[in-house]
Symmetry: C2
Subunit: 201 residues, 2 copies
Amino acid sequence: MPKRVDHAQRRTEIAEALVRVAARRGLHAVGMRDVAAEAGVSLRLVQYYFETKEKLLLFGLQHLTERFGERVAARVRAAGSSPGPRAVIEALLMAALPTDDESRTFHFLYTSYAVLSVTDEALAAQPFIANPDAAEDTLTGLLRQAQEADLTGPGIDARDEAVSLLAMSAGLGTSILVGQRSPESATAILNLHLNRIFRVG
Amino acid sequence: MPKRVDHAQRRTEIAEALVRVAARRGLHAVGMRDVAAEAGVSLRLVQYYFETKEKLLLFGLQHLTERFGERVAARVRAAGSSPGPRAVIEALLMAALPTDDESRTFHFLYTSYAVLSVTDEALAAQPFIANPDAAEDTLTGLLRQAQEADLTGPGIDARDEAVSLLAMSAGLGTSILVGQRSPESATAILNLHLNRIFRVG
DNA sequence: ATTTTTATGGTACGGTCGTATCACAATCGC
DNA sequence: GCGATTGTGATACGACCGTACCATAAAAAT
């Protein structure tokens, strides 16, 4: 057999090829041959590492969310060595908006997968539904932290605000994606609500 | 020639067949043969009334938005003979949430089209981008009305709140669609923000 | 050195899809 | 009544797609 290759890395390379071609032509239009060509391998190789297209798509989603999670974490770390809750929340929400190529690709493909999951039960069963819940919990926790530090205004329910902010972020993100709204106006709206939640200071 | 049939109505029937099958199996999976079978006509007929699949899809989107616009208008009318701005806004926002089969289908297919429009320029050129702008203008106008009637709290910018409410409604709608959130919790969140915008009384 | 296992390439098969073609029925204008 | 026009059916074509099959090169195991 040939040069004992690292399967995990090979699968990652192919998955990233999938992401690239899907970002370019749409998830519905991607075929195994396209992925193979984009990755610079033969069709047979794609079949070898992912037996079926469905498995390739599932792994692609998994890889996409992992990579994006790392990116968000990096953004949060970059928000300062000991950032306040508001800075962390801002970093979180802004990272989720499709403002550059990478976040745009993520938002686009994630939404594509979400739409597919409505009619595809294999996708619906995927833990890709768990991620938004995790984001909601994280954001709720940060808001509670801010409340305990007396940084917030009165009459604020942490979970309600977390849900609101995430829903708004998702809605604004889609607006940006389809070209209806600019990233700047979207961040302005989010900051407006953060100013409402956090005490001025 | 044969029994002089009403073309407009025939096209509507076929478009509704398209909507039904797309709602069942996903927009990406719908073929001309499926539409023909669902409408109870031959494949040739679908080709006759819409020369190409692209034209069928475009007309389907147009029909979908028209039907939904009528539905929202009906809901608003049903909100009372002389409803206050808040009642109208509530009716608007609630009608946009996927709470029953019809609104669910609309939200699902509209999002599907939106995702497609990112990579399909024929769809991107469609006025289906104009509709959200119209909704934003309408909602902004209603909020201004409320402000003039002194129904709102202080520090409210009508357009900003309109954008926020619509983004939230869209984001919450998607959450409902993928089964992550219940319609009840979504309406609760929206009402929370309406309570914030409108003075209590 | 030979066998066995892993990796890779090439290619063919069956199905489906959008579209085009051919045929014909039914009705209106004349 | 007749030719022109419009509606409808059946079917064929070419392209693609996912998958399966066959071959083989190369390294590890013996």
